[in-house]
């Protein structure tokens, strides 16, 4: 039971819209890349179980898609499960694989995630994604996730005063990072030129304060990761990356129910006291509709397990769940990179930019690398694995975004409007 869990390989099939290859073909490409990089993996013999990650049955019109993937990958009759938790699905799949290995029942667990979102037009994709919100309440009003996340960001802006320019700076950082990423949709569609704050302001308004460049892309793609027990990890690699902390947390389905939520009331008193006087105080001032309580809860659990009490100092970089740029800013606060209300300061001081103290989204993440939901966090985890094992320069064919000597990184993912969140801490061996 005290067995540590290692990451011993990962692979990505690039994010784009459209990818014409079939879902199972994208998954095969990701697994093939991992196998090519890790000749020590005796495939499929070494795989004890598989956890599959895809977000939506609607987007492909196919239920139990993982049964197609599983036999396509030649992994019968091994145990296989699908995890389903909205945008949290891929991080949840990784956490489940970790727990499978911790249970002692399985030694090596493969995680495969994918999504193809290009089969429907954009308004219909928005509609099907929004089927993950309360279809009796939020859905019929027509905001969908662009709207839900916008109202949350408006509330945070109202309380803490970040500006559209702060959000645009996050967009610039992430898009420019993605121009180096050979798996990124932005680079496929727009090339390698850097963008500016002005370019963000010129992009189409979607849901004030969000513009097109502030929003996640609609993408096709796949990714995989192989986790192994301490006992078997050394067979695969001399340089494993260890998972030293995992965390999970939840919040309400309807964001509008968070204002007086009795379950969060008093839970984080330090964040209730920094609440400014610009608005009527709610009965549950943290997170209410401004921050993400599930992210705080999942982050704290992972920090405790990994022995982290000063994340900015103890983490070298992070890959966060950023469907909209205000979410990244708020996550800085919820993950304790700064105090509540100081997310904008981190943006203005460049702390999370490449070269900053805690670079976030070196991959470009959701708004620039792309967001095929079931694959996204697994691809981010694979990018973390490559950074921690110093393979990024080779994989990306450039040193422009390759870290050297990085020891520890954080992955955070969530679903809905922060209805469920997961955090994983990765450490180099």
């Amino acid at each position: 039971m005290s067995n540590r869990v290692a990451v011993v390989g990962g692979g990505i099939s690039r994010f784009d819209n459209p990818r014409y290859e079939l879902h199972e073909e994208l998954c095969a490409e990701a697994v093939k890349e991992m196998l090519a990089d890790n000749p020590n993996i005796d495939y499929p013999k070494d795989i004890d179980a598989v956890i599959y990650s895809y977000f939506s049955d609607h987007l492909a019109g196919q239920l139990c898609f993982h049964w197609i993937i599983h036999d396509y990958l030649g992994l019968l009759p091994k145990p296989a499960y699908r995890v389903e938790s909205g945008g949290a699905t891929p991080v949840d799949a990784l956490i489940n694989a970790y727990m499978y290995i911790k249970s002692g029942i399985f030694k090596n667990v493969l995680v495969v995630g994918w999504e193809k979102m290009s089969e429907l037009d954009t308004p219909k994709v928005n509609e099907f994604i929004a089927a993950a919100s309360d279809t009796d309440w939020d859905f019929p009003v027509g905001g969908y996730y662009t709207g839900y996340y916008a109202v949350l960001e408006t509330r945070h802006m109202h309380l803490y005063g970040e500006t559209e320019e702060d959000l645009a700076k996050i967009a610039v950082k992430n898009h420019n990072n993605a121009t180096f990423n050979p798996y990124a949709q932005w680079r496929s569609q727009h090339g390698t030129a850097f963008i500016t704050v002005d370019d963000v302001f010129k992009s189409r308004l979607i849901s004030w304060p969000y513009r097109a460049y502030n929003c996640a892309m609609i993408s096709d793609g796949a990714a995989c990761m192989l986790l192994a027990s301490e006992e078997t990890a050394k067979k695969f690699t001399d340089s494993p990356v260890w998972i030293t902390g995992i965390g999970l947390g939840t919040d309400t389905m309807r964001p509008g129910d968070r204002v007086d939520n009795p379950m969060y009331k008093g839970l984080y008193p330090e964040d209730e006291t920094v609440y400014p006087g610009v608005s009527t105080k709610t009965a549950a001032p943290y997170p209410e509709m401004a921050n993400f309580g599930s992210i705080r809860t999942s982050g704290d659990m992972a920090y405790k397990m990994a022995g982290i009490d000063n994340p900015v100092k103890q983490l070298d970089f992070a890959e966060l769940f950023n469907p909209y740029d205000g979410v990244e800013l708020t996550e800085y606060e919820d993950l304790r990179f700064c105090k509540r209300g100081e997310g904008k300061t981190l943006v203005r001081e460049g702390v999370t930019e490449w070269g900053g103290e805690l670079p976030c989204q070196i991959s470009g993440a959701h708004t620039a690398a792309g967001h095929p939901v079931g694959a996204t966090s697994i691809a981010q985890a694979t990018q973390i694995y490559w950074q921690l094992t110093e393979q990024t320069a080779n994989k990306w064919k450039t040193t422009a975004r390759a870290l050297s000597g990085a020891q520890r990184a954080l992955l955070q993912g969530h679903g809905g409007t922060g209805c469920q969140s997961g955090v994983i801490i990765f450490e180099r061996g």
């Binding site: 890349e33 802006m157 009795p262």
Partner: protein, 235 residues
């Protein structure tokens, strides 16, 4: 057949054409294209391949019961706003919950109370893009409104106000549409007070940018839907 009720008390019977429409969207191809596209898992390793892309429609009609919250939605049809009040802790929910979630109340069943048609904007967004059913009504404002006395906020549309005049704390009236259908879109909000310009969330520069955006969205909607376009914000 779904829901064979013992007795139908009252009804707005749906047009059975919808059943026919749902039957027509039956997963069978209605067209195809033989296309040329990229193949490959990395941008630096692409080749070209041909793909067959079919068009395959699908549709359904859901027969959905609102369960124990039915009183709320029937109330909308009657142009009355109801909340659910917990007899143990006194919390009033709108959106309603049939069982109180307060940890001390151990899922106590709630009771119906009629609510005042007044509330306050908690937060909002100006929508310039949406999904299929609502594209024609772009641009529009969504607001999460705390109905007076309630401990939750309701997603709703905010009308008859310039988007830059909206701010959290703005007092609003709750109105019913002329012909309610039995979902939350049967209500919408309008300002109950003259907006205070000093509380605006946007600078003059941002307002000008937003006006320009609104204009572009309206042009797009008119171009796409012609006379069916019904933008919700007048500039």
């Amino acid at each position: 057949m779904t829901y064979r009720p013992k007795k139908i008390v009252e009804a707005w019977e749906y047009n059975k054409q919808w059943d026919e429409w749902a039957r027509q969207g039956n997963w069978s191809p209605v067209g195809w294209r033989w296309v040329e596209g990229p193949k490959g898992y990395r941008l630096d390793q692409l080749s070209t391949a041909n793909y067959l892309v079919i068009q395959r429609p699908h549709a359904s009609v859901y027969h959905h019961s609102y369960g124990m919250t039915s009183r709320f939605f029937k109330g909308l049809i009657e142009k009355k706003l109801y909340g659910a009040k917990c007899p143990k802790c006194g919390a009033i929910y709108c959106p309603p919950r049939a069982h109180c979630w307060n940890p001390e109340c151990r899922l106590q069943e709630t009771e119906w109370v009629e609510l005042p048609l007044r509330g306050e904007v908690h937060t909002f967004s100006v929508m310039a893009f949406s999904a299929t059913p609502f594209l024609k009504t772009l641009p529009f404002i969504i607001a999460y409104v705390r109905v007076e006395g309630c401990c939750t906020t309701v997603p709703t549309r905010l009308m008859k106000i310039n988007p830059w005049d909206v701010y959290p704390g703005l007092k609003v009236n709750i109105n019913f549409v002329e012909h309610p259908k039995g979902d939350i879109m049967d209500i919408y909000c309008t300002p109950a007070e003259t907006p205070d310009p000093s509380k605006r969330m946007m600078t003059q520069e941002q307002i000008e940018r937003l006006k320009n955006d609104m204009q572009k969205v309206k042009e797009w909607v008119v171009r796409k839907f012609g006379s069916e376009a019904k933008p919700s914000i007048e500039i």
